[in-house]
Symmetry: C2
Subunit: 167 residues, 2 copies
């Protein structure tokens, strides 16, 4: 396989994969493109490479910056803005899990807390509901904390030890 072909394959596949994970295709593609670029890329170049409109590019770059995984860069003597992706994968994982936790897990916990604390009358049906949603609340909370700790400790000796034990 040739370089251009490989690059294209990577970008396209990353886009498709992103969709499956609830991330829009263009956002994933732009991220993929920046990840494998060894130097900052201008908006024009992104538009050109991915064959997408200016508006789409702009919106998705903004979203990526909101997630904290893409940065703006300024080149001296250049009016245009350039973009780079966070390339440290541990850092990337931390930022993605923080963001998903904030956007998706926290709201889920809020709902679970609300519905699991209704006053359960004596019917078996209601008891089961409260029991099951309470368990779910505990479980999601535990999972969320675990993800937090894993990413947090990922780099240091304790994390490495844990990884070793787990393997």
């Amino acid at each position: 396989m040739e370089f251009k072909e490989a690059k294209n394959k990577f970008v396209q596949s990353w886009g498709a994969l992103g969709s499956q994970w609830g991330i829009n295709k263009t956002m994933a593609q732009i991220h993929a493109l920046l990840m494998v670029s060894n130097e900052p890329v201008s908006m024009e170049d992104i538009m050109e490479e991915l064959q997408i409109s200016r508006g789409n590019t702009s919106m998705n770059l903004k979203a990526l910056m909101d997630w904290g995984i893409v940065y703006k860069e300024y080149k001296s003597g250049e009016r245009r803005e350039f973009f780079t992706a966070e390339k440290d994968l541990d850092e990337l994982a931390v930022k993605i899990s923080r963001e998903r936790s904030k956007r998706e897990i926290k709201p889920a916990l809020k709902i679970l807390k609300e519905v699991s604390t209704i006053e359960a009358k004596d019917s078996a049906e209601e008891k089961h509901f409260v029991d099951q949603t309470s368990k779910l609340y505990d479980f999601v909370l535990k999972a969320d904390n675990m993800l937090d700790k894993i990413t947090e400790f990922n780099e240091n000796w304790l994390g490495r030890l844990v990884l070793k034990i787990m393997k």
Copy 2:
């Protein structure tokens, strides 16, 4: 909040959350409904509760059974089929991660392997591409294994110890 209201809120919210994670709304809603039902539910009842068509119900039940998180049940003397959800959350987590790994992570690894093993010519651009995709391959592989181990050991003492250390 009253029981019916709480149940409805849970089912609706779970559906919305599912969408964000790339799981279709109805599939997530049916799963939610079955999770909090203390006894098997017929297709008719699911259709009625969620106000969805027979075809939709059938397809999504099939998908949930393919994931291994919903089971068919037969009641003696009843012609109809009934459905229940896996209610053990550890078991649920194991099945969901297995399935997502199989469907999404494994294919991603395949692509990463392919594109990271192209012959890098001497340009800095190509070297960076190979370097970055190789790192990504290693990282995703590591993460996939970790998820595997976490779910696998979740119930036993080692898992508990690790959780404790991490907290």
